[in-house]
Symmetry: C2
């Protein structure tokens, strides 16, 4: 076997368990037992639990980040000076995520769930790590979004981007469960690609919504449009 597949076995088990249960709720003993590896191996190979968490993210985020940059390059080249549209930008991102080589059939949903957790669980070290390592494609995506929605104020755009992130991370992070419920209730099978195909128009429409709701509606429970 190549140099220590112990490292990969740990990463595989950690990735799955983290996605399933969160970071604090997953102990090193669960991970090493799932990976059939000695407990000390984690601290030997990674140094600490936090460093292991970073390594799990780096393993999929680094290639994804490269793929994404290429997709953006191509998109901008193709648009030839003009700003890519919102739909094009969103789709470039989605396509890059879906087309990433997956280690297994759950790959993309684990990927999404981890990203969601990274945002939600207030692990300070993780936020810092992600910001330091992957700010470039993130900023580029933000710039593309900005150019694709020049009609929005900075504040509006900021919040709508958060809404998009939320809808995406949440849905993708529990896509397995949600697909199962749909299968039970309506007898419909759904692929991750189909979810993405439904999500992007939803996001684009929300992002370009023109309503502006006043903070204090009248008492009747209806609302006012500016």
């Amino acid at each position: 076997m190549a140099q220590s597949d112990t490292v990969d076995r740990i990463l595989d088990a950690a990735e799955e368990l983290f996605a399933e249960r969160g970071f604090s709720e997953t102990s090193l003993r669960m991970i090493t037992s799932e990976a059939r590896v000695n407990l000390a191996a984690v601290n030997y190979h990674f140094g600490s639990k936090n460093a292991l968490i970073h390594a799990v993210f780096a393993r999929f985020l680094t290639p994804f980040s490269a793929t994404l940059e290429k997709a953006f390059d191509e998109l901008e080249k193709q648009c030839d000076g003009q700003a890519p549209t919102l739909n094009q930008t969103l789709w470039a991102l989605t396509e890059s995520a879906v087309r990433m080589p997956q280690r297994n059939e759950k790959g993309i949903s684990i990927f999404m769930r981890l990203l969601g957790l990274a945002y939600t669980q207030s692990q300070g070290h993780l936020r810092k790590f992600l910001e330091e390592e992957y700010s470039q494609p993130f900023r580029r995506f933000m710039r593309l979004l900005k150019e694709a929605t020049p009609q929005l104020t900075s504040v509006d755009r900021y919040w709508r981007i958060q809404f998009m992130l939320g809808a995406t991370a949440f849905t993708m992070s529990s896509s397995d469960a949600l697909r199962g419920i749909l299968q039970n209730k309506l007898g419909v099978e759904t692929t991750v690609q189909e979810i993405a195909a439904r999500l992007v128009p939803f996001l684009a429409a929300g992002m370009q919504a023109q309503d502006k709701m006043l903070v204090s509606p009248n008492l009747s429970g209806s609302f006012t449009v500016a």
Copy 2:
């Protein structure tokens, strides 16, 4: 003092710390120390940490649930047989949340963050508790959404509701952090009410989006509209 304000002090401290750091990351010792109360008081008054979590939720969810039912009653009465619109339904929910009597200025944002955490952190006991105690207003909200979007297929509606839930839960679960970032970057103060006022139109627009994206876009990265 009335019957043991220890109970309230524990609930206050727990609520704030849970919202700030999550459930697993908040120890009973942090809570009792913040509440200036003996460690054993939690187990004496609530029985266990999980029961304390339930009590924290029940304290704001029970009155909120009642307020929400009243708001839906009024909305339906006012619509007089006709189905309330999507905007009316969403706003009835938002208004009920925002208008709840708050214990302090952070009340509503703590409230929101806890709800987000309830969805995100996969605490099995919490999910079960919430489903058992508060399924009625939830189901009613779902029914209103269905009646307000008759043009959607069941499958489309199902996924778009998930997207709405995601955007809401995710944003609210990190609303403090997001507000802080916005404050730093753009020097803008934001209230939870304003976030809600931005969120509702986003959700309504996404919910009513008419685009339908084909699963396989052409290779150029652009997309096709049916």
